[in-house]
């Protein structure tokens, strides 16, 4: 296939939405959104509070049901994919870590165990090493700081081996120093694993640091989709 015409392997849309809409009690939280995210692309969803950023991400993970339109993962309508399989392929990191009571290792093993799998020997330690928490395997989650908990949450999502990473304000609950640390970590892991990533953020500077493209939402609608290098000119 010819290069540069949008049809090379790298240009295949891993994730695409068509007229994606969610209306709750007469209010459109997500309104006719059409997105196309290519393999390995990192896209920031930005916009003011209440613009539908988190609602859009929840639809992509199918934590909520669209009232109109749909999502395609690798050109397959996601309603044809079993929800559990879909959520495994499109791993979502919530704003708060919500670690389950118990050890760090048990949290990392949760996703694979839910699918009847056991993580191979050393995978948990390796993941913890990658998120900067070596030796934390047996630590009780109640003893973790906010930044540590969010790193464990990221490792827990990665333990599922997702192709797409959906990040909902992953650093908003952290103090400034932890924010930058977690941000760098996420960027490094996305690069290492060649993950496709959507990151919701209210912080445009963070969007510029982490993403190559920004999709601007207002009142649930996409009003702009631009390279983050042009963010200053974004509305």
């Amino acid at each position: 296939m010819p290069e540069g015409d949008g049809t090379s392997e790298r240009m295949i849309a891993v994730l695409r939405t068509e007229h994606l809409t969610r209306v709750v009690e007469g209010r459109a939280l997500v309104d006719d959104v059409g997105l196309s995210i290519e393999r390995g692309e990192v896209v920031a969803i930005v916009g003011p509070s209440g613009s539908g950023k988190t609602s859009l991400l929840r639809l992509l993970n199918r934590l909520d049901e669209p009232t109109g339109g749909t999502v395609f993962y690798e050109e397959q309508d996601y309603r044809e994919i079993a929800p559990r399989e879909l959520r495994r392929r499109a791993g979502m990191l919530l704003q708060q870590p919500y670690l389950f009571p118990g050890t760090v290792a048990a949290n990392l093993a949760y996703g694979p165990a839910a699918h009847g799998e056991r993580l191979p020997e050393g995978v948990i330690s390796d993941l913890l090493q990658r998120v900067g928490l070596p030796g934390y395997d047996d630590r009780d989650v109640s003893r973790l700081s906010g930044g540590e908990a969010q790193r464990v949450s990221l490792a827990r999502t990665l333990a599922n081996g997702p192709d797409v990473l959906l990040l909902d304000e992953p650093t908003s609950a952290l103090d400034e120093s932890s924010q930058l640390g977690v941000e760098e970590l996420i960027c490094r892991i996305i690069g290492e694993r060649d993950l496709t990533c959507l990151i919701v953020t209210h912080d445009r500077a963070q969007a510029v640091r982490m993403a190559g493209r920004a999709v601007v939402l207002e009142a649930g609608r996409v009003v702009e989709s631009i390279p983050t290098s042009e963010m200053k000119h974004a509305r």
């Binding site: 559990r84 919500y98 949760y110 839910a114 827990r156």
Partner: protein, 262 residues
């Protein structure tokens, strides 16, 4: 002392009720002196309770003369009433009445049927209805406690539940700790009842049997049988109701439904 003045059973009963009423009024008066004003509620409750229980007694006089299938009909009505009461206590849960009905009918109903078939409950109406009503009432309480606990757990753990779902876990697995907590909450009062049986309290049925001239040892054993049935029915009801509400908490696409989060 009253028995010396009233030879007729009915007259004696009325006299005993009057004395009890007077005693309750003394308590209301003492409470009033302490600034606790419950006069109206207490008097209304006393009068209402007296009328209700006498009405039930009068109806039973008629029913006991009727065919035995009437007891099944009465127990069914009791189950419906219990489901209604439990559903009112579990407000905010959609379909609470239907869930409570299935839970109580499944839990209390199966225990009553099994124990009657085995002969642990006398199938005559005079025995089946009082014992059945005790089992249904306890199942109702356990049902309400379990549903309320499950609702409270779900409401306070939305983030954890969605974190589990987002990892691709099955809803049953995600809410398993909250199902266990709800069933446990429904059963704990019954376990306490079994523990305290005969030590902290001598239940009404046993006291009634002794008063009616039964052998105290047999009365004690039968009371244990009834408390055991109540335990089994409450446990079964809690399990059925909680599993039914769990099923309604998620959509077919395994999304947490708002109706349970309220």
């Amino acid at each position: 002392m009253l028995a010396r003045f009233f030879a007729d059973t009915l007259q004696l009963g009325v006299a005993q009720a009057v004395v009890t009423f007077a005693l309750a009024l003394v308590v209301v008066y003492v409470a009033r002196r302490q600034g606790i004003h419950l006069e109206r509620e207490s008097i209304v409750a006393l009068v209402r309770g007296f009328i209700q229980i006498v009405a039930v007694g009068s109806v039973l006089v008629f029913l006991f003369r009727g065919p035995s299938w009437v007891s099944v009909f009465i127990l069914l009505l009791m189950t419906l009433a219990a489901a209604g009461t439990a559903a009112r206590r579990a407000r905010g849960i959609s379909g609470a009445f239907v869930i409570s009905f299935y839970g109580i009918a499944g839990g209390a109903g199966s225990v009553i049927v099994l124990m009657t078939w085995l002969g642990a409950i006398d199938p005559r109406m005079a025995s089946l209805i009082p014992v059945g009503s005790m089992v249904i009432a306890s199942a109702m309480n356990s049902n309400a406690v379990a549903l309320e606990r499950f609702r409270a757990e779900m409401k306070s753990r939305v983030g954890f539940i969605e974190a589990g779902l987002a990892l691709g876990a099955a809803p049953d697995r995600v809410v398993a700790p909250y199902v266990q907590a709800a069933v446990g909450a429904g059963m704990i009062p019954r376990i306490d009842t079994l523990r305290a049986l005969g030590i902290v309290w001598i239940p009404g049925l046993m006291a009634g049997m002794i008063l009616a001239g039964s052998d105290p040892v047999y009365a004690a054993i039968y009371q244990f049988v009834v408390v055991g049935m109540i335990f089994a029915a409450s446990g079964l009801t809690s399990v059925i109701s909680t599993l039914l509400i769990r099923g309604r908490a998620f959509s077919p696409a395994e999304q947490l439904q708002l109706s349970v989060q309220v």
